[in-house]
Symmetry: C2
Subunit: 347 residues, 2 copies
């Protein structure tokens, strides 16, 4: 029998497979010589959560950017290589803060930065990478407490982030209830459009202002930590939208055992994306990934009125799980073409 390969199963199957393996061994109450540590959220959510103090939980996550998987160095031309390294550093921290934000009111405190570098990498580029990292760690009052440097054939930027949250305040993917409303925190689809512009460009490409906006949304995603703190008081489930709205909703649906009705006309999109994409909006707003907006559910209707300091968009509601996720526009059901969903391990 031929061996099952990763390109047969895909990323989501593997994550589920590993998660089931790890669950067999997960020991929820670890006793150290000094304290008890309860694993409140283990593998499979945006971050892990451990109750470590009497009044607070430690929230931990890790995310990696790898050259030729997540970015290419020949995309640098538009900005110059040093500015591009700055963006890479910025993004490596932004996506990790996003994983913490997705758990609710989390204060990021520390990170470890591991860098795989090629021998011909210039010190200036590494310095700019750290400037990009530092721009965010400074802004959010974080410390870089450690890391690792090693040789690699491609550039690898692997960050582990550690924050704290008030105990019992974290929001997982598993709490959505029938009747809850579904919300997102900002425009979806920009990042995938930006990625496609980078992939198609060549040395002579000049970007118009819409394209530049979309590319910068891909390189420097928004950070929703302030929003997450305010949302967490009202949210029943939440995750970040790193793999696209469709997969995020599917995950919340599976974890919470619920179905959804989503009005695609309510999904917020930028005027730049409308200008750029013309007719294929759903491939971007529903399927496109890496927007790093939050998707959440809440028992409250019209939450944008309660949350007057931040903006959220109500895009649908939670229903029983019999129908799965139904997308509609103008009251007519529409089919989502899932072949456009990004799969890491396809060949």
């Amino acid at each position: 029998m031929p061996k099952l390969k990763l390109y047969n199963t895909g990323e989501y199957w593997l994550i589920d497979h590993i998660r089931r393996y790890l669950k067999k061994f997960l020991n929820k109450r670890l006793i150290s010589p000094y304290n008890r540590f309860n694993v409140v959220v283990g593998p499979g959510d945006d971050s892990a959560v451990i109750d470590i103090l009497n009044n607070c939980s430690v929230v931990i996550s890790t995310d990696t950017l790898v050259e030729n998987t997540h970015f290419k160095l020949n995309w640098a031309g538009l900005f110059g290589i040093e500015k591009y390294f700055y963006f890479l550093g910025y993004k490596s921290i932004a996506i990790n803060i996003s994983d913490l934000s997705a758990m609710g009111a989390v204060k990021p405190l520390f990170c470890l930065v591991s860098l795989g570098l090629t021998p011909d990498c210039s010190i200036e580029n590494i310095d700019r990478l750290y400037d990009g990292i530092q721009s965010l760690t400074k802004k959010y009052g974080m410390n870089i407490i450690g890391g690792d440097i090693f040789k690699s054939e491609n550039i690898i930027i692997s960050v582990t982030i550690i924050g704290v949250a008030k105990q019992k305040s974290v929001v997982t993917r598993a709490g959505a209830k029938i009747g809850d409303k579904i919300y997102v925190t900002g425009n979806l689809g920009d990042s995938r459009a930006g990625l496609e512009i980078l992939q198609r460009k060549n040395d002579k490409t000049k970007l118009n202002s819409d394209e530049k906006y979309l590319v910068l949304k891909h390189l420097c995603p928004p950070i929703r930590i302030k929003e997450a703190e305010m949302i967490s008081e009202y949210a029943t489930s939440m995750m970040d939208c790193s793999d696209g709205l469709y997969l995020s909703l599917k995950t919340i649906g599976n974890e919470s055992n619920v179905g959804m009705k989503v009005n695609v006309d309510k999904i917020p999109v930028s005027k730049q994306l409308i200008n750029w994409t013309k007719n294929e909006m759903i491939n971007y707003s529903v399927i496109g990934g890496e927007d790093y907006e939050l998707v959440f559910t809440s028992g409250y209707d019209n939450l944008d009125k309660k949350l007057n300091k931040i903006k959220v968009w109500q895009i649908g509601e939670i229903v029983s799980d019999t129908g799965g996720i139904v997308f509609y526009s103008d009251k007519r059901r529409i089919r989502i073409d899932t072949k456009n969903i990004f799969e890491h391990f396809s060949v």
Copy 2:
């Protein structure tokens, strides 16, 4: 002016460069909404240490194995690919536990495992990798609480490990005092010999029992966590010997502002290494890396008598920093050929 490249500066220069950059921004007292966190040890030691509870510190480290930098898949033939993936999983955790051990009496509690995988990787191999990881996390009562899976052109295994230690009990690289004795916890040089055997072998190679022992020392390094706990009561400085004795001593010397006299005849070596290497012992015992034994200093002479449950070897003593590190054999000074030191970024 041509740009300074990493192959001009090397790994140690870069680590020092980054560390100085990070020190500028290090904010030792972070105030979260829930607690104060003091960074006791920041970037540049084996692990970071944060005082987080009244009676204990959190100890955190990260270490990565990358295909073609740290290992090659064509080294698998001797054991079969599945067993080899088991070894990779084992080693990825062992080297991280080693980073915690190097700080003293640390109880490892949690780890996050990030995997970069190629699309043609078989699920069986990934399962065996996790079996190797799990064999150690189970043995040491640890939980795998999270991680990340992504596509990569090479296999990448990046682990972040988190443990706890009694507050103020951690041992850094900076405490060695003049008159202290220098100790190691076990045989040095085996791992480099094992690595060379793997590099030279081809499909027809059959290993004798000495070679097999040396290769297994490279693939499954020892874990000195019990030793570290007992040693920490007596040690003034400590680090793990992952980049070889010479570089470890140099680091402790620099961090503690001291010099050293080391008797190479006292460095413990295995009979298998003696059989295999014949005349070039120093290239292995002094220069060779990845043995993951602990190197430490202590004000106590003949510590092996106090530590009767574990074995340590006294190899030299701390002197003033004017002479640097002096190696001698039979009372005659010997020069160490530093061109044999492993440099990640050489081309």
